[in-house]
């Protein structure tokens, strides 16, 4: 039973615990197919973001010596 929690934070933590127990109690195939669906689609979406290295690293607060690109 997944308890939604009284706050967003509590709800998130409850889900983390629920999911870790789900992994422990279900076959690897069952949980990892769901993880594959979630992660692979997120990676595809992220790859569609058009940023230059300079723009990306600026967001991260990191250095870039690639001139204007």
């Amino acid at each position: 039973m997944l308890d939604p929690g009284k706050t967003n934070r509590e709800g998130r933590i409850n889900f983390v615990i629920y999911w870790a127990n789900y992994i422990k109690n279900n076959s690897d195939e069952k949980w990892s197919k769901q993880q594959d669906f979630l992660i692979s689609s997120q990676i595809e979406n992220a790859q569609n973001i058009e940023l230059t290295p300079k723009q990306y690293l600026k967001i991260k607060g990191e250095w870039c010596n690639r001139g204007q690109i």
Binding site: R9, R12, I13, V16, I17, W19, A20, N21, I23, K24, N25, N26, S27, D28, E29, W31, S32, K33, Q34, Q35, D36, L38, I39, S40, Q42, I43, E44, A46, Q47, I49, L51, T52, P53, Y56, L57, E62, W63, C64, N65, R66
Partner: protein, 212 residues
Amino acid sequence: MQGGKSKVARENKLKVEFIDKNTLKLDKVLNKLDRFVIDFIRILEKYVDYVIISGYVSILLGRSRATEDIDIFIKEVTKDIFKELYQGLKNNGYWCINVDDFEEVYKYLNEGIPVRFALKDTIVPNFEVAFANNSSRKSAFEYVLVVVTQLGNINISSIERQIAYKKFYLKSDKDLEDAIHLEVLFGDKLNKEKIDKSRRQIENARSRQNKS
């Protein structure tokens, strides 16, 4: 009847299993991020010892979230070996998104500054690579856990070190959730002394930083 039920229960049990104290077998369906990591480390490990730390460790072990970057420590190597590694990555379609010049990449790594590698002309996902050139980073190599997957092995730093760093050092909501995930998943298989040792290493490193 009862025998049948227990057989089903056994089949449905988590197959994350320790083969020995340093090896974990993981029989999951590998996702796009896992495959991306395995492709990269197959090149990396030809030239240098590596260990993966932080968020991706929790994701490899089932956490239901993605990440745009995978953190990797590599052991310090000479400029010549690093040049071969850098060329090996380039030949296999990767680029350093910070800078092209290998001399500059090596210089930054030596100064303790991480650099990011991705597939050429892409930005994410990427690998944030750093030399393990201080005591805190070196400690990640103390207990390396080899995760055996369907497509090959992945070296991660110990689960206990991950938990300690996330709970006592990084401490963001995301990091605390990663730590909870690992704590619930591994439960009594965790070595509390190792968590404590990592916590003390973090505190010592912090106190050294404060003094300087």
